[in-house]
Symmetry: C2
């Protein structure tokens, strides 16, 4: 792993699982002869091994979906995963793994490349959402799970959950897809592209081989990419209400290019702090995987046909002020799933915050998910 | 002027006007003892000097609003300004000037700094929308115009037109404001901030003093800023329809970080070509001026009170798929203008393209504007 993250990771109580016997043939044609999956679990697997739920994280997430770590860091979805929560750890065995290409313990561009003895950097192969799902298949074998009670994910996690129902149709009863889309759309591809461009423009990026550089990683480029992402995660109205035109410190404009407005300060902070917990190359790889995602690609663009080949019962959740993956895109999935003969319901949730509502708003999802999981 | 632009400018048939007797005291406290205004005119000023219309351009515009130049370049608003157009040059005397802080002939950061004998760079003072309007006041004096038939502008140009009605309430009969807002809002401030950050991160920026650098201007940073801007100018739906997930050249993904999708190619082109016609420092200065714009600032945030102090008759045009300056923001201006005792009408135009519709769609605006100008 990228030395910069080593300290953080040492304190992170995830398990790693090496899948050396499971050579991973990637969509791009290359093969990873072995890979590591960093994962965590909560709750108890029941005797029939039928109460397991696999949760997939979003772009910048990790396996630490719930609980409190020794370093004080909370799970990114504590409100949804825990005793008595929607994903009730008293009842279900919850699994969450860091994605392939990530930087939170699973194999990715910051990992040791056995062929060179150094971090992969951009020698790491470009991976897809399907590759990320396949990378987690051996983990289920390790845990002795043949069929999941449910898969779940929001944003990119929703794409992974969808892909799971397509790659392993017999392996899950239910799929809960939130704030996601059946394919990445042009505007979202554009944002990803611009973010990657900002990273690759940074002279510290060094073609992706910056891990040993005395200058450190491409912090500034990653900051710009993260800032772009952040704006897409929040609705225009929420930004108006949260920041408006409030000045950050002084009582008048500075007549400079520094930080005047609260929204500038917020973004600068988000951008600046991100490199402390995220690898710029992983940002490149994960956004590219999102770009490439198209659930209907295997059925020549026919989304209904794609759902017809799956077996899960679907629940879609969208957030009405989400402009990254809009309610309309989630509704389109639900309609195609129904047309494909699946059980599917789309819950359009009132959430003025926008896309990031999946991270902070728990109602009415909690009741709806609890009910669906018990049905 | 920045040498890079010299060639382009030589072929551009604008006039320049130096205002040495008009020291410009700027909102930020500094003074420009003289400044140049690059402008063009179309049509004939009538005997009573009462048929003049001043058009303000948007962020990346210039004085070349109409006609064909020797170099073959068309005016940026040929469809709206010309014989028989909404702004009918057979009937009206049309004026358009490059804004202060720009790079198309008027004084800006790429201009010669008389104190150092070199281009200003970031020694140029940060200017406001009001400063830009004040900078054009001497031009009207030069042309012998005491009262305009109308002022007009779209996007940032709309802010300038609004500011004109506030700074010189007796000097225009009408104001036509399109795809604009009474103040820059948090999300738009955020995009501007991120774009500036990308420019300032570019090692070729050199603190703004890159004009003599052998490495040339901060092309890559400016490209990222421009790409961000472009996405905000087009609606999500228009990007879906125009690009969708179409691949640019090959029939499958490259599994690289290069250009796969048509939307990536489009953005890369927009970004790459922009530095050939625009100065990165001007991008900083102009976006900052937009950030600072707040029509209600002088009336302590009371927009109605701000309009009550004006005298123009207003027409607002918005484009229903514009998510940068939404119909709601334009409607808010119209409502406040009415509440402030002004004549005001808001036309919400169906325009699936989004913000950039003001540049390419001429109906029903042409008829509505013609009628308003003749009333």
């Amino acid at each position: 792993m990228y030395p910069h993250f080593a300290l953080t990771l040492q304190r992170t109580l995830y398990h790693t699982f090496d899948a050396p016997g499971d050579a991973l043939v990637l969509d791009g044609g290359r093969t990873l002869s072995s890979h590591t999956v960093a994962y965590q679990t909560w709750g108890q697997l029941d005797e029939t091994r039928s109460n397991a739920i696999l949760i997939f994280h979003a772009l910048s997430g990790d396996s630490h979906v719930s609980g409190q770590h020794e370093d004080g860091r909370s799970g990114w979805w504590n409100m949804m995963v825990g005793p008595g929560c929607a994903f009730d750890t008293d009842r279900y065995f919850i699994i969450c793994a860091n994605v392939l290409g990530g930087c939170k313990g699973s194999t990715g561009p910051s990992s040791h490349n056995p062929e060179t003895g150094r971090p992969y950097g951009t020698d790491f192969p470009v991976v897809t959402i399907d590759d990320m799902v396949r990378a987690q298949r051996p983990l289920l074998r390790l845990l002795g799970i043949e069929k999941l009670h449910a898969v779940n994910g929001a944003s990119m996690g929703g794409m992974l959950a969808l892909a799971f129902t397509q790659l392993y149709p017999e392996m899950t009863e239910r799929a809960i897809i939130m704030a996601s889309a059946a394919a990445n759309h042009a505007q979202a591809i554009a944002w990803n592209k611009i973010g990657r461009r900002a990273i690759m423009n940074d002279p510290h990026w060094l073609g992706g081989h910056y891990y040993d550089s005395p200058d450190g990683p491409p912090r500034r480029g990653l900051a710009v990419a993260r800032m772009i992402g952040h704006v897409t995660y929040i609705s225009e109205g929420a930004m108006d209400r949260k920041f408006g035109r409030s000045l950050q410190a002084a009582d008048k404009e500075s007549f400079s290019f520094g930080v005047d407005y609260a929204v500038e300060s917020y973004l600068a902070y988000q951008g600046k702090s991100f490199h402390e917990r995220f690898d710029a190359n992983s940002y490149l790889y994960i956004t590219r995987a999102i770009d490439y995602f198209d659930f209907a690609a295997k059925t020549k663009g026919d989304l209904t046909a794609a759902f017809a080949q799956t077996r899960a019962r679907y629940r879609f959740f969208s957030y009405d002020a989400d402009w990254l993956y809009s309610p309309e895109r989630n509704e389109a999935m639900a309609q195609a799933a129904l047309a494909g003969g699946r059980e599917a319901v789309h819950h359009r949730v009132h959430a003025p915050l926008g896309h990031d509502a999946f991270l902070v708003q728990k109602e009415p999802q909690t009741e709806l998910i609890s009910e669906f999981l018990q049905k």
